[in-house]
């Protein structure tokens, strides 16, 4: 998976040598086959559950990365995830909307909400944007908690139906896995294509230097809103997908701690690349489970890993792979 570095979010890469392109293509193919076949080989449902979480978290991290590509870090990402989840869950419970449509609806609603919010919030940049998204996320959690007539407050929503595709309910972990895998591939491909397009170029210019981008004719406001809306919309849709898997939703399901987790995944994987989000999610999701035996130490190890990555591998896990491949090449792009 390492090879698709042309889809960087913050750095322009030199064109890859044809041999490397071939290698990365082959690596991708192998990964795809493995992803399709491996779950059939294990009977341990817990691993499949873990895989599902990893796929969903990857989507959350990548969508956050999309917002980060214009240089803005959102500390309220979990609120959009939750918003999408509630939209779809309520639509399914109150209006019997098929979950598959609910997911689409969730994505549209959260995307639209992000457009409206973005018009106001994206005027701020840097630390201020971080803080305002943090606060907005807190407000959302409070509203969801207290609007009992609609959301059932802390009691949460029970018995949310599973996704049904052409009459086949995705009620087992394995079935949901293939759905999640498909969604994951779709999102990753979409973002990759987006970043290679004119949009991606505009995003990167804005991240580098807002004033410069503006003076070279780029409509900063427009592109920021696009990134924010797409990132949040994808997150909302993924949140809806998740809620039709867990089948229970409460204000506790997606909180500020989850926003922190998504940022951690993005940073640990590699903030400046799209793959970073995926890598971070794949690495960090199973970690608490692996460490579960050491109750208490588990969280500390999480924090220590984050700190170590920041200190010693500032461009994330992706850069380890990259420097490995770049051995001998002088185009070191890490800071």
């Amino acid at each position: 998976m390492e090879g698709s570095s042309t889809a960087t979010l913050g750095r322009d890469e030199p064109r890859l040598a044809p041999r490397r392109r071939w290698l990365s293509g082959a690596a991708l193919a192998v990964a795809l086959v493995a992803a399709l076949v491996l779950p059939q080989l294990t009977t341990n449902q817990f691993y499949i559950h873990l895989a599902n979480l990893m796929l969903l978290n990857s989507i959350f991290a990548v969508s956050l990365g999309l917002i980060a590509s214009v240089g803005q870090i959102s500390l309220g990402h979990a609120a959009f995830v939750a918003a999408g989840a509630y939209v779809s869950a309520l639509a399914a419970l109150s209006f019997k909307l098929p979950p598959i449509l609910g997911i689409v609806l969730a994505g549209l609603v959260t995307g639209l909400a992000a457009v409206l919010l973005g018009k106001i919030l994206l005027r701020l940049r840097g630390v201020y944007f971080v803080l305002v998204t943090f606060l907005a996320g807190q407000v959302f959690t409070l509203i969801v908690l207290n609007w009992e007539s609609v959301t059932h407050g802390a009691n949460g929503l029970l018995g949310i139906p599973a996704i049904s595709i052409f009459g086949l309910p995705l009620s087992t972990r394995l079935r949901f896995y293939y759905f999640a895998l498909a969604a994951f591939i779709f999102v990753v491909t979409f973002v990759w294509a987006l970043m290679r397009s004119q949009y991606g170029r505009a995003f990167r210019s804005i991240a580098e230097n807002v004033r410069l981008a503006e003076s070279s004719g780029i409509d900063v406001s427009h592109y920021q809103i696009v990134a924010f809306a797409l990132g949040s919309g994808i997150a909302g849709a993924a949140g809806a997908a998740m809620v039709h898997y867990i089948r229970f939703l409460s204000p506790d399901s997606f909180t500020f701690n989850d926003s922190i987790a998504y940022i951690t995944m993005l940073v640990v994987g590699g903030r400046h690349t799209m793959i970073g989000g995926v890598l971070g999610a794949l690495f960090l999701t199973p970690l608490p489970e692996l460490l579960r035996g050491f109750v208490g130490a588990q969280h500390i190890i999480y924090g220590v890993i984050l700190l170590c990555v920041l200190l010693f591998i500032p461009n994330g896990l992706v850069s380890i792979g990259r420097s490995f491949f770049n051995k001998g090449s002088e185009t070191g792009t890490s800071k």
Binding site: I120, L131, V139, I300, L310
Partner: protein
Amino acid sequence: MDYSILLGQAVLNGLVIGAMYMLMAVGFTLVFGIMRVVNFAHGEFYMLGAFAGFFTYVYWEIPFVVCLLIAALTIGVLGMLVERTLIQPFRSDEMSGMIATLAISVIIQNGAVLLWGPQPRAMPDIVTGTLAIGPFSFPWSRLVVIAAAALIFTAFWLFMQRTRLGRAMRAVAQDTETALIQGIRVNYIYPLAFGMSVALAALAGALMGPVFSVSPFVGLTPMLKAFVVVILGGLGSVPGAVVGGLLLGMIESFTATIFGSLVSDILQLLLVILILLVRPAGLLGQREA
């Protein structure tokens, strides 16, 4: 109970909470003003201060004032070490520094849980009894907090205004480049500022320990409130932190007493968001360059 009692009680409550918020916010804004670091671990130093106060007061049975001093010194030194080793590497990268403090907060909080257990500890009041003025009843334990906070802040203010070190800090906060040219050793100022900042948080924690009890989780809410106050008052402005702290304490106390806590929480957040959008520099902050 009639309205005057309600109001009087609300004022006192507001002052007590405001005093604590002020101490938290001043430290937080100091670090941001001087180092441009958003310290997500600020609340955990508050918690460490609470524990320091708890252990020294309950197990060593020394006068509380000494406990406060010990708490401030130990946590302050710890802060300086943390700055030198873990924050300094991120001087040029604000975002990474912020995330690093996030990681530090996770480590400190869970370390506390491992060391001391998750159970909250009850701390005996430093002074018992209430001051009854007519129909009002003010617990001495809370009045003491207000007095102590006022004293601590005065000491801090004098330090910043009257000592060379304090002036050096303010110079660095205003313009690091010029300060460097003037010969101010920025590499010493940074750890010192960070140490002072968390010492203030630790003092707040130790002061509030007897009032609210002590557990590894007590740092979360003060951290949130520090954020809110600092935005209200202006990132980097110490007078803003004072005014903002007391103001937020009052707003919280009054809205909670009149409308209940849920409405109060939402109102506070909405107010802050409004400020960020309309006047991001806060009430007394500097305009960002």
